[in-house]
Symmetry: C2
Subunit: 340 residues, 2 copies
């Protein structure tokens, strides 16, 4: 079987991770990656052996000056590719839709774009089947991916009556030196609720969910405090068993001396994965509690990487490489080193 050819438009935080994840698969390969400017990440792509394409012909000169050989422009790459993963900055991706249509290439957008860009929002466990054969798909944001992974199994098993979540967001990614705050808590947005609840509804439309969000002086992970009212009775041990059976949830606990997001990411560095990433939802097992009949727990989400395996599964569904979502997840996990 010839491998499906993947273009990556935008080789930054998400794009470079998807580049490596695609390369790790047996059924897909990188046709090329598109950069706007010859930053250090263009050199990373060269080192990985990827062909570099300039976003447009007027950008080619800058790459030549920087000693980076380009194989052409975005349009030339689209002409060769079966599917493009759009990893351009949030809000920019939508502007490429016409071009992707023109070249008849399938496209995946990230969570920075609206649901309407693709008309379909994706999570591997929740709706793999609905992505099969699709031309356009949006993989939801890191926070929405994390919430969907947590809520979908609960809803399947117990039925969610209502969920209320406080999202504590990292201020910026670790490599970002422009953003604050250094010492503050920022309600963001101030008006409630935040967009995260409705975004979960783009995948699980029937769940009643209210989310509020703040931005914090930290760079390494998002953190969620979840409250879930369920239709059926449960005990904390039932929830632990349920999550233990899911492919992209990792338990940590205070007993193991993992008492913060910092220690979670220290563990990630020890796991030997690409870029020391933590692809799973990280749930504190000892936080899973029943109080006043409702479920409460804490989870941490690695904002730079949790959507990466979902992108791989989305490719597999859209290109009809695998009809069974569970098998795709298993293969993606295996190749990316995601194991319990």
């Amino acid at each position: 079987m010839s491998k499906v050819k993947i273009a990556i438009n935008g080789y930054g935080t998400i794009g470079k991770r998807i580049g490596d994840a695609v390369t790790a698969q047996n059924d897909m390969e990188i046709a090329g990656v598109v950069k706007t400017r010859p930053t250090f990440e263009a050199n990373v792509a060269v080192d990985r052996g990827f062909d570099i394409y300039a976003s447009s012909s007027d950008k080619t000169g800058a790459f030549n000056k920087a000693g980076i050989e380009t194989s052409g422009t975005l349009e030339e790459l689209l002409d060769k590719a079966d599917l493009v993963v759009d990893c351009t900055p949030g809000g920019v991706g939508a502007s490429y839709k016409k071009l992707y249509e023109k070249y008849g290439v399938k496209a995946i957008w990230q969570g920075g774009e609206d649901h309407e860009v693709a008309g379909f929002s994706f999570n591997s466990e929740a709706n793999y089947n609905d992505a099969i054969g699709r031309d356009f798909t949006r993989v939801v944001s890191c926070n929405t991916t994390g919430l969907t992974r947590a809520l979908f199994p609960l809803d399947q098993t117990y039925g969610i009556k209502k969920s209320r979540v406080t999202l504590m967001r990292r201020a910026a990614d670790p490599g970002n030196i422009k953003s604050g705050p250094i010492n503050a808590i920022i309600p963001n947005p101030i008006s409630l609720p935040s967009h995260h609840g409705p975004d979960v509804n783009s995948i699980l439309p029937h769940i009643e969910i209210a989310t509020v969000a703040v931005k914090l002086s930290t760079t390494i992970m998002h953190f969620h405090a979840l409250n879930v009212e369920m239709n059926k009775d449960f005990e904390p041990d039932d929830i632990i068993d349920l999550y233990a059976s899911r492919p992209r949830i990792r338990f940590v606990s205070g007993d193991q001396n993992i008492k913060s997001t910092a220690e979670v990411m220290e563990l990630a560095r020890d796991l030997g994965r690409s870029r020391c990433d933590m692809f799973e939802n990280v749930i504190w097992k000892d936080s899973i509690s029943k109080y006043h009949g409702e479920l409460y727990f804490f989870q941490a989400i690695h904002q730079e990487s949790d959507v990466v395996p979902e992108n791989i599964d989305a490719i597999r569904a859209m290109c009809e490489l695998e009809s069974d979502g569970a098998k795709s997840i298993e293969e993606t996990n295996r190749t990316m080193g995601i194991s319990k």
Copy 2:
């Protein structure tokens, strides 16, 4: 009328603020302050004109060496005082109870002690009357004071069916250089719920409240995301009117460009108050929302100072200086510069 004589045992973050607040009143005065060691704060007390007492006679030498004159020991101070405000570190205060009893002095403890130390927990608006003439009172912690100020008026007016709160706590006070984290989110405690809900119940026993808490990389304020289910219907404007009528709630809004705790404390610096403190609950007016029939809003709490006016009111009630709680609050606010 002769002024009530107040001893302050422990002249740190809270003690030094209560020292200034007592001095600002017409009906009470500082009899002396107790320090264990001659730190810079002992010099602050000297500058304020307060008599310094060593915590015990074996500590007196250290003060002499540092050139700070002491007027005796804690026991000698207790002998002269009508009431002692215990501002020793959390958990230490309880050990002084027998001594306070021995000298027949009334005592106020802070929120770091258990409710049982005093058998009565205080908030100016919620239970001033119950403190009148009492010998022992505990002023609840900064977070519990903030929650009580927010929840009590709601419960009075609408009846609270249930409240769920995420407390985002500052890691350390600004002058503390020993504590972390620099870059992490710490679920604290990991097991849910946190003690803050039960602590609210020490004042408002009938309210069903679930609290979860985290510690963050920030020093300047705590931050609460509140969810409240109420028995009667409401509109956000009703809640705004209700809070506008309360003496220790200050509104801010994103429209005023107050979009974070940092800007709140920048405002506090502009208000010209002692130590640039923010004694009120700070509620984002534009966060007050109704969603799925429930109330949501954000508030920030200045951990170093919000309990200070409550201590003044507690003194007034316990020493029977004022029988009307609203009048005590008004006088405390006036003298401390707390106005809308």
